[in-house]
Amino acid sequence: MQFYLPVAEMSANVLVFLAMGGAVGFLSGMFGVGGGFLMTPLLIFAGIPAAVAVGTEAAQILASSVSGALAQWRRRNIDVKMGLVLLAGGLVGSAFGVQLVGVLRRLGVFDVFVSACYVTFLGVIGMLMLIESTNAIRKSRGGRVVSQRRPGQHNWVHGLPLKVRFNRSRLYISAIPPLLLGLFVGLLAAIMGVGGGFIMVPAMIYLLRMPTQVVVGTSLFQIVFLTAATTILHASQNYNVDVVLAVILMAGGVIGAQFGALAGERLKGEQLRFLLATFILFVCARFAWQLIARPSEIFSISSASSA
């Protein structure tokens, strides 16, 4: 079943993209991750222009985060004040990132830039997860109890000025680290087409020392508003949001996530992380190959504005 995508300007097989959304939805349901950092690479591999993949993925992450954020809101697991501070940084980062996408696209280096970003991030995160999960599996096989690393009392974050009280997180810290964190994640969201949860969640736990029960909710809260803003910015600045593609991916993703969540309940946490790490490294290797291998065609063409 072919469908012509109005913004990507290409004919796409609906079933292929539905299946793609379903597969990533399955993985994200299983591992409890947003899935943007898997979906965007898949879209690029499937031939969607990198810029359109990034812009459209923002809308899809929004759809898959809304229900989660709502559920966390009902359980009062969101530190709204912290979320807003993160978001303030995030919006600035996103606005800057969207401009950067436009500039890089005009220079014709956006595809390579995105590949390089993905190789770096997926490589680092995949390796860290692989090491951590292998250790955890080995320890649990050895019969020892796996203990969660306890956050220390203070770190450099607590020495900075501009202190704000975050009641829900029971924190009294400087607003600068969350602002910078938000800024960085916003930048990634705009450039890489990710929600940024995979950076945000560890940073909240280890850097900001937020209590774990509000971490996921607060992260989702800011992802919802960040991806909404990023979608609008991409659409208005870069014309790279394909609503038809987004709807197809949403439909697949929502259904896949339900089955993924069921499958995830049967597997242990460290096994899940090991699997996810392997998958991430695989995607990373695919991108790296693209950059390193001698291309069969060294020329490429694109239309340009004649202005």
């Binding site: 072919q2 469908f3 012509y4 109005p6 913004v7 300007e9 290409m10 004919s11 349901g29 809308a59 899809q60 929004l62 759809a63 985060s65 809304v66 229900s67 989660g68 709502l70 559920a71 014709g108 280096v109 390579v112 390089a116 996921v216 989702l220 909404a228 979608t231 609008i232 991409h234 659409a235 208005s236 600045q237 014309y239 949001v241 609503v243 038809v244 987004a246 709807v247 949403m250 439909a251 993703g253 929502v254 996530a257 339900q258 969540a261 950059l291 390193i292 291998a293 001698r294 291309p295 060294i298 020329f299 490429s300 063409i301 694109s302 239309s303 340009a304 504005s305 004649s306 202005a307």
Partner: protein, 304 residues
């Protein structure tokens, strides 16, 4: 009532989104049309011909007894959501044909279908510290978005080189030119490579087509050719030019225009995305939120 609304919050939100979305889409289209006939400023410029050329042009060489007439199977082709490329048939007849039989090869016919000329950036990858990056580029103007040539036999055998060069017949003679004000100075050798790369890549994408025996006579005076416009073709007017020749001499030409236009939802969405991009982004956001809420209601649990 309130409880009921609250309980079915998901579907309600979804339908409200759909309705509001529909209304906004409506406004979007109206706005785009008011702004000037649903041809929104795309970031990728697709220059339209400056002068409104007539749809049909015919030319008769002095002294020639024969004249050619032609038409295409569809003058207006709609690019809708289900557009997956299309095949057009170009057919024509020779008035005053002297040809004894369809197979005699008495006449030669060349058919050229050419899309809108535009600006193309061609980039070359180079190895920088082990990575393959775009390191050099050139800009060309007047590159036809689409170019198909079909003939009764290879054009090299039909018309002399000078004539082909003069009239831009054949892929080697496409008249695209390096744009003025290139970023870097480009050597003649590089220019040649870039030119060849454009043609090669366009041939791979089936946007350039060369069919050496693509025109067939089906009667003493009737001929036809079929040409495929692939799904990734750029919309706009296409000029179809038919050349009738005999023994390297041009007898008559005939030109007819066909137009590829976005239609239906395809046109709607494209016009909206480029005409009112902020509102389009906003509606996309609302659809996403609606879809998320619908999912959480239908499945009764968070998707996270």
């Amino acid at each position: 009532m309130m409880r009921l609304l609250l309980r079915y919050r998901g579907p309600v939100a979804f339908f409200v989104t759909l309705i509001v979305g529909g209304v906004l889409f409506g406004i979007g289209e109206g706005e785009a049309q008011r702004r000037g006939k649903a041809a929104p400023p795309a970031p990728v410029a697709r220059p339209m011909p400056q002068v409104a050329e007539p749809e049909i042009k015919r030319e008769q060489q002095p002294g020639a007894r024969e004249s050619v007439e032609a038409d295409v199977s569809a003058r207006n082709i709609a690019v809708t959501s289900s557009f997956n490329g299309t095949e057009i048939v170009i057919f024509g007849a020779i008035d005053g044909s002297q040809q004894p039989s369809p197979e005699s090869g008495y006449y030669d016919v060349i058919i050229v279908v050419e899309g809108v000329p535009g600006r193309i950036v061609v980039r070359r990858k180079g190895n920088v510290a082990g990575l393959w990056l775009n390191t050099a580029s050139a800009i060309f103007d007047n590159v036809p978005s689409y170019y198909a040539i079909a003939s009764t036999r290879p054009v090299e055998e039909i018309v002399p080189e000078e004539y082909r060069a003069l009239h831009g017949i054949g892929l080697q003679h496409l008249r695209f030119t390096p744009a003025v004000g290139q970023k870097d100075a480009i050597s003649t050798e590089d220019l040649k490579q870039y030119r060849e790369a454009i043609i090669r890549l366009k041939l791979n994408d089936r946007l350039y087509v060369n069919r050496e025996h693509g025109v067939a006579f089906t009667g003493k005076s009737i001929f036809r050719a079929s040409i495929v416009l692939p799904a990734n073709v750029t919309v706009g007017p296409f000029d179809t030019k038919v050349y009738l020749l005999r023994e390297e001499k041009l007898l008559s030409t005939y030109q007819v225009r066909l137009t590829l236009e976005r239609e239906g939802m395809e046109r709607y969405l494209h016009a909206f995305a480029y005409g009112l991009p902020t509102l389009y982004g906003f509606v996309t956001v609302m659809i996403a939120v609606g879809a998320g809420l619908l999912a959480s209601t239908v499945f009764g649990r968070s998707t996270h």
